[in-house]
C-alpha cells in the first residue's frame, strides 16, 4: 500500500521526532509513504485569520501537487490534516469557492478537482489500514506495564466528525491496548492544549496546559501520547514554565504516537527520535518496560 505523504513544517524541525518515527514505523510495517514534491506550509490557523481565499488557495496547492498515482494523502499533523481535508470539502460543496480557488491556482499553472485525493490522518491509517491483527502480530516488545494517557487534542477529532467520537475518542486507546499498554482513561483527552495561545496569551494557554498535565498525573499516567506537533510542543516544552507559574512539579514525558508504536515494533529508539523531548522519557520507559520483561521472563 502506498500513500502520498505531507509531513508539514513542524515535522521538519520542532517535531522531527514525529517525522522520523512515522517514516520508520510505516516502513517497517510495509506501508510506503512518498513525500509530496515541493509542498508548502498549510498556513495553520494564521491565513484563515486574515484572508480566507488565500488560506484555501495556499492549502489547495498541496492537493494539486499530489501525483496522480496516489489516491490518498497522509498528514500526521492535526492542523495540516484539518486544513487539507477542510479545503477539499469546501471546494466540493461550494462551486463559486471552487472556481475562485482554481482561478488562484491557475496563476501558478495548477488546478484541483475536489475529491481527487482522500486526505487521511496518520491515526486512521494505523488504526484502520494497518489494523489490529497486523499490529498485534508485529509487536515484538509489549508495552505492558506502561501507563499511557492518549491525548487527542482538538483538530483531528473535531470538527470533521467521522474519524472518531468528537468528545470521547477511542481509536488511540484501543490501538495501545493492542500493543499491551495500560491505557489511562482520563477525562480531558480531547480538550484543548491552548494551541498558538502560548505565543499570544500565556496566562490563557498555561492554565489549559496545567489542566491536562494535572489530569494525566491524577490518573497516574507514565507518559502522554500526542498526535499533533502543537500539542506536544505545548505540553513538553512549556512544562517547566507551567511548573514555575503554578508552583507545580510535573515531570510527564510527552511522546508522539508513532514513537511508542515503534518501540512496540522493536525498532531502534534512535530511529524513533526518542530523546528529542524536553522532559526525558527514557528513564520511565526503561524502568516500566524492563520491569515488565523481567516479570514475563520470571
Amino acid at each position: 500500500m502506498k500513500y502520498a505523504y505531507y509531513p508539514g513544517c513542524s515535522l521538519e524541525s520542532g517535531s522531527a521526532a514525529y517525522d522520523v518515527s512515522v517514516r520508520s514505523v510505516m516502513e517497517s510495517l510495509g506501508f510506503q509513504l512518498d513525500e509530496v514534491d515541493d509542498w508548502n506550509c498549510c498556513g495553520a490557523t494564521e491565513y484563515f485569520t486574515q484572508h480566507e481565499l488565500v488560506a484555501l488557495s495556499v492549502i489547495a496547492r498541496n492537493l494539486a501537487l499530489v501525483d496522480k498515482q496516489y489516491e490518498q494523502l497522509v498528514a500526521p499533523c492535526a492542523a495540516c490534516f484539518l486544513n487539507l481535508k477542510k479545503t477539499d470539502k469546501l471546494m466540493a460543496e461550494d462551486r463559486s469557492l471552487r472556481d475562485h480557488v482554481n482561478e488562484a491556482l491557475g496563476a501558478g499553472g495548477l488546478s484541483y478537482k475536489p475529491g481527487t485525493v482522500r486526505v487521511r490522518h496518520l491515526l486512521e491509517v494505523l488504526y484502520s489500514d494497518v489494523g489490529e491483527t497486523a499490529l498485534r502480530q508485529r509487536t515484538k516488545r509489549s508495552l505492558a506495564g506502561l501507563r499511557i494517557a492518549p491525548y487527542y487534542g482538538c483538530q483531528v477529532v473535531r470538527p470533521l466528525n467521522g474519524l472518531d467520537n468528537t468528545e470521547y475518542p477511542m481509536k488511540m486507546d484501543e490501538l495501545f491496548t493492542w500493543l499491551g499498554a495500560e491505557v489511562v482513561d482520563y477525562p480531558v483527552k480531547a480538550h484543548c492544549c491552548g494551541g498558538h495561545m502560548t505565543q499570544i496569551s500565556e496566562s490563557q494557554a498555561f492554565e489549559l496546559i496545567r489542566r491536562l498535565l494535572q489530569s494525566a498525573q491524577d490518573y497516574k499516567a507514565d507518559v502522554i501520547v500526542c498526535i499533533c506537533p502543537m500539542c506536544q510542543l505545548n505540553l513538553d516544552a512549556y512544562q517547566s514554565r507551567v511548573n514555575s507559574e503554578f508552583n507545580q512539579n510535573f515531570r510527564l514525558p510527552v511522546l508522539f504516537l508513532t514513537q511508542l508504536v515503534g518501540i512496540a515494533l522493536g525498532l531502534d529508539w534512535k530511529k524513533l527520535g526518542i530523546g528529542k523531548e524536553i522532559v526525558s522519557a527514557e528513564p520511565i520507559l526503561r524502568e516500566k518496560l524492563e520491569q515488565a520483561s523481567a516479570a514475563t521472563a520470571g
Binding site: G43, E46, E103, S240
Partner: protein, 190 residues
C-alpha cells in the same frame, strides 16, 4: 414546510458576517442556549461569550463586537462547533470576525493579528513556516519583555535538534507567490 427567517429581519452586520463565513447563514438559527460559551476553553477570558456575540450581531452592534477580544481568544478547538444544537459553524464565524476586524484596521495592534501576519509573512517568503524566524521576529517586535523567558526553552529545543536556524525555501516559491497574489486580487470567497 419550514420557513426560513426573512432577510428583512437581518441586521446589516449579520448579513456581513453571513457573507464572510462559510456556512455562516446558520447564525440566524441561534437559540441563545449558551452551549458555545459553556464549552469554550477560553470563555472566561472573553469580553463576551459567543452566545452574547450572536445576540450583538443580531442587534447590529458591529463596533462593539469588532472591538471585543472574543474572537482573538478563540483557539480553534471546535468544541462549540461540534456541540451547537443548531449546527452553527461557530469557529468559522470567529475566523470571519477576525478577518473583518483586521480589514477594518481595528485589530491592528493586537498580539493575535501580529502573530498571524508574522507567520504568513514567513510562508510568503519561503513557502514553509520558519519557527526560529517566526519566534524571534514576533517576540522582538511585539513581546520584547517575554524574550528572556523564552531563552531557556529555545536553548533546550536547539540542543535537541528541534530548532532550525536556517529557513527552508521551496523550489517553486514563485509559483506559490503568484497563487497568493491572484487569491488576494480575487478578494472575497463568495
Amino acid at each position: 414546510m419550514i420557513a426560513e427567517p426573512s432577510n428583512s429581519h437581518r441586521s446589516a452586520f449579520m448579513a456581513e458576517v453571513i457573507e464572510s463565513a462559510p456556512g455562516g447563514e446558520r447564525i440566524v438559527h441561534c437559540l441563545q442556549c449558551g452551549s458555545c460559551g459553556g464549552s469554550c476553553p477560553s470563555g472566561a477570558d472573553m469580553d463576551y461569550t459567543p452566545r452574547t456575540v450572536f445576540a450583538m450581531i443580531a442587534a447590529d452592534q458591529r463596533d462593539r463586537v469588532l472591538r471585543s477580544n472574543t474572537m482573538w481568544c478563540c483557539v480553534s478547538c471546535y468544541f462549540c462547533t461540534t456541540r451547537c444544537p443548531q449546527n452553527i459553524p461557530i469557529t468559522e464565524v470567529m475566523y470571519a470576525l477576525k478577518r473583518i476586524s483586521i480589514a477594518e484596521g481595528i485589530a491592528k495592534e493586537g498580539d493575535g493579528p501580529a502573530l498571524a501576519r508574522t507567520f504568513t509573512g514567513m510562508v510568503e517568503k519561503y513557502g514553509r513556516s520558519f519557527e526560529f524566524g517566526l519566534a524571534s521576529t514576533y517576540y522582538f517586535f511585539h513581546k520584547p519583555g517575554s524574550m528572556f523567558k523564552m531563552g531557556p526553552m529555545g536553548l533546550s529545543m536547539l540542543s535537541r535538534g528541534r530548532l532550525s536556524l536556517i529557513p527552508k525555501r521551496i523550489r517553486q516559491i514563485d509559483q506559490l507567490q503568484s497563487i497568493i497574489k491572484k487569491a488576494k486580487e480575487l478578494g472575497g470567497t463568495s
